[in-house]
């Protein structure tokens, strides 16, 4: 089954030189992030040297799949040949509770973008055969459980 948003050609290689630990963990349904192996500070996804202690030891480990929206946008341009949906779609910059920031879209098709500060849980989409992190907006999920009209529970756009 294909992803809801993008074509398979945008699937990253699981054996990516930088992000293989993320994709390998994601395939097991786990969210793994890089930390300094010496001092424990959360590193950027492509950071080789710790800016806090200068150690060159990157340790990937599982983190809680939760965070908040640091920024978001609703993308109206659907790039022909790359984007599958025929409606605007959200892109989120998520700040994980672990301290990392990761850009992702939502787990399932959405026509709105959550607002800055909204809590999210992180699951996984499958682009081609590669699992990638994706956000589930907690507020919308809770509301949908209580209200029988999902259309009425869509969170407001980000602007």
């Amino acid at each position: 089954m294909s992803d809801w948003l993008v074509v398979d050609e945008l699937a990253p290689d699981v054996a990516d030189a930088v992000l293989a630990p993320l994709y390998e963990a994601a395939a097991r349904g786990e969210l793994s992030m890089p930390f300094c192996g010496a001092c424990g500070v959360p590193l950027e996804l492509d950071q080789d040297v710790c800016d806090a202690c200068r150690a060159r030891e990157v340790a990937w480990r599982g983190v809680e799949p939760r965070g908040i929206v640091h920024s978001s946008t609703l993308v109206h341009r659907r790039e022909a040949g790359l984007i599958l949906v025929d409606h605007p779609y959200p892109v989120l910059d998520v700040e994980l509770d672990s301290g990392h920031r990761v850009v992702m879209t939502t787990l399932t098709s959405s026509t709105t973008a959550p607002g800055i500060g909204d809590p999210v849980e992180v699951g996984f989409r499958h682009v081609g055969s590669t699992a990638v992190p994706a956000a589930r907006v907690v507020r919308a999920q809770l509301a949908e459980e209580k209200i029988t009209h999902p259309e009425a529970t869509i969170p407001e756009g980000s602007s």
């Binding site: 950027e44 609703l74 341009r77 990392h100 850009v103």
Partner: protein
């Protein structure tokens, strides 16, 4: 006669919004125009610096232009690469090389031809980037091209500063007011707020009219310590760069912040303050960046750039004439050359109906990456 290095020539091709021509062809045309403007023969050129847009096309302008462009033996030849800050870096490199006695007359050239048959420039950018590394992960999440990227920056900036989102549109409308009187500009039809709001949304809050207008074209600037037209020459009084590190980590802003020392150091080198600057020419790939950079560079108090844009300060007749040729939004997007070209025209008094009266000093900026590379130049008329 030999004096210190100065900007003595400017060459600019017509800006094409339709496919046709190669970067090398445009570069050659801009060089010919620049040599004509400076009244200098190509045999006098002993330095050539080139820069180009990155990654998208294999046929970009490079050091091969030294042979292809008809130059003789050179003492200085480099491809300068710090993304959108490259043009300012070329001018700085030229000034330093001449001051060090390494060359006398250095041409700085930028050319681009992103418009190809069958695909819009934005689409070309969206299809480039691959599936590797962090960019590959982001692209798998739907972050294609630079518009959604800067939309994330824009929404974060608006939320943190409390800026009225209408200020973004004010920047775009102001740019068009300047462009109406710029013969080089590609968007010269008058534009009001209603017209702006009718513009197609690309990635909220950025509309088509918030985005740089790609063109096929080129510009060349001659820096020399020989001044055949000395009354038209300009001095680079100060130059500085800042490459801030913003960690994508909880507790800090990662989309904006930094660049201020480039501006303050360039002004200090020039012996000037912000108040001494007559015109501001910013690298404005998106309208949001004019707001962001005016604050970063100290021309607006933090959080106040939006009010300045809405209040008309940046417009013709305003207190801080900014991007006076229409910038990249309504003028033309030749990356870092856009602000340089307009600064030269203003300080020469060649800006016609959009001329800022008695403009003697200009602040010019370059911007690369995701707000990662900042360049600042202070230019002064002689």
């Amino acid at each position: 006669m030999s004096t210190g290095p100065a900007i003595v020539g400017l060459g600019v091709t017509p800006m094409s919004t339709t496919p046709g021509g190669t970067a090398l062809e445009f570069a050659a045309a801009a060089v010919a125009d620049c040599l004509r403007d400076a009244a200098v023969g190509i045999e006098e050129i002993d330095g050539l610096l080139v820069c180009s847009s990155q990654g998208v096309r294999p046929d970009r302008l490079g050091i091969g232009f030294a042979k292809g462009g008809g130059f003789g033996a050179l003492r200085l030849l480099e491809h300068v690469e710090i993304k959108g800050a490259s043009t300012a870096a070329m001018l700085d490199r030229a000034v330093l090389a001449i001051a060090a006695g390494r060359a006398h007359s250095v041409l700085c050239v930028f050319a681009d031809a992103p418009l190809r048959p069958g695909r819009r420039a934005g689409s070309t950018y969206a299809h480039s980037g691959g599936t590797d590394g962090v960019r590959g992960l982001e692209r798998a999440g739907g972050l294609l091209g630079s518009v959604p990227t800067y939309a994330l920056l824009a929404n974060r900036y608006l939320a943190v500063t409390g800026t009225d989102p209408a200020a973004i549109g004010a920047v775009a409308v102001t740019a068009r007011r300047w462009a109406v009187d710029n013969p080089r500009a590609v968007n010269r039809e008058p534009l009001d707020v209603a017209g702006y709001l009718a513009s197609t949304m690309v990635a909220d809050p950025l509309r088509v009219l918030d985005c740089a207008r790609p063109v096929n074209g080129a510009a060349a600037v001659l820096v020399s310590d020989r001044r055949p037209n000395s009354h038209r020459s300009l001095i680079v009084r100060g130059a500085s760069f800042e490459h801030p590190v913003r960690r994508r980590r909880a507790g800090g802003e990662s989309w904006f912040g930094g660049g201020g020392s480039a501006a303050s150091d360039a002004l200090t080198a020039a012996g000037m303050t912000h108040a001494d600057i007559d015109v501001v020419q910013l690298y404005d790939p998106f309208s949001i960046m004019t707001l962001c950079l005016l604050e970063e560079y100290g021309f607006a108090k933090p959080g106040n750039a939006g009010a300045m844009a809405l209040g008309g300060d940046l417009a013709p007749g305003g207190a801080l004439p900014t991007n006076t040729g229409g910038g990249a939004l309504s003028g033309f997007y030749l990356q870092g050359m856009t602000p340089v070209v307009e600064a030269i025209e203003q300080l020469r008094g060649d800006a016609g109906a959009r001329q800022v009266p008695e403009a003697r000093t200009a602040f010019v900026s370059g911007l690369g990456g995701r707000n990662d590379h900042h360049a600042a130049l202070v230019l002064e008329a002689t």
